[in-house]
Symmetry: C2
Subunit: 174 residues, 2 copies
DNA sequence: GACGATGTAAAATGAACGTTTTACATTGGT
DNA sequence: ACCAATGTAAAACGTTCATTTTACATCGTC
């Protein structure tokens, strides 16, 4: 496990549990078990570290979404919530905390959202045989809503989203 | 306009645009046009001010949701997004920034979420004549998802949620 | 066995944080 | 006219922030 891996892993957990601004550099160095000099030599700055954490999370999340149906997509989200907990979309949280004033963070967030949207669009087209923009938007909303609502309603929110997606999909014949 | 009104109004705008932690007390006093001494005499502390801002926002939001159908509920959300912009649910953002470590904030957030959920449950029962817990959960997810997705997809996310809700509702006969 | 790279430990930087305090101005009620 | 209340302005509080620097240890490699 490289220094960067330790740093990103520890930072992601701390950011997720306590927020980005509320997590100071001392917590990050302490969490990763490295000195602040090493942190800055590797990460450059706190904002750069945040962006890197988000990009790594995007990769890990995308790997989980390598499925072949909308239903499996929501099943994957259920697994994610069960394993990683439900504290809301870390990307949108980063955006909210920084007010969209940090370009490297904005870029990471938008790239992630575009990737998820494209994944959903591909699955919808694969299942319906059509390019149904409205249905894609509906699935995106359900996916985002399940992530957010799971914070305070738990896994049942994801289960409800999954069933809603199935219903909407069943109504869209090819 | 009382001092408290000025303070809460200015604070809500600043918190919403720049985040809670990133907004310092100097910005808040300057935004409200009052001294820090007056702010502390009225609000007590920053966390108490945040809780008050959330409670006031909950009231204002609830007033907007005084409608008689699920469709009108999403229409109201469309109006809200058009007027107030889409930077995500301020309640969940507050929860995320504080990591759930501030009881007064947690209370304000949960109270808000319970209130919205009850509103949705009442409307669903009014329209279907039944107590359909799954359908209620689905509408909650759509509502939450529209709020979150609107950040990066704009009003079309709310429109999609609205139509999805109509479809799901049509499938639930009384 | 010396060397450059790479790490740690710890102190220093200067600014910003939330909060309190001191000193003073304004004002409305009796 | 006066007093208590309520406001402002501004400095001071001690802490914490992100970042840099200084000094020193450890290492694999030639």
């Amino acid at each position: 496990m490289t220094i960067m891996d330790k740093l990103v892993t520890a930072s992601e957990a701390l950011f997720d549990r306590h927020g980005f601004t509320a997590t100071g550099m001392d917590k990050l160095t302490q969490g990763a078990g490295i000195s602040s000099r090493t942190l800055y030599k590797h990460a450059g700055s706190k904002n750069a570290l945040i962006a890197r954490v988000l990009n790594e999370r995007d990769k890990r999340f995308a790997r989980r979404l390598e499925v072949e149906s909308i239903d499996a997509l929501f099943k994957a989200l259920e697994d994610w919530v069960r394993v990683e907990g439900a504290r809301g979309c870390l990307f949108l949280r980063a955006l909210g905390e920084t007010g969209g004033d940090t370009p490297e963070i904005v870029d990471a967030v938008l790239a992630h959202k575009v990737r998820v949207a494209e994944r959903i669009a591909a699955l919808v087209e694969h299942e319906t045989g059509r390019d149904d923009a409205m249905l894609v938007e509906q699935i995106i909303v359900l996916f985002e809503g399940a992530t957010a609502a799971a914070i305070y309603r738990g896994e049942q929110a994801v289960a409800a989203a999954r069933q809603a997606a199935a219903t909407l999909l069943a109504g869209a014949h090819s």
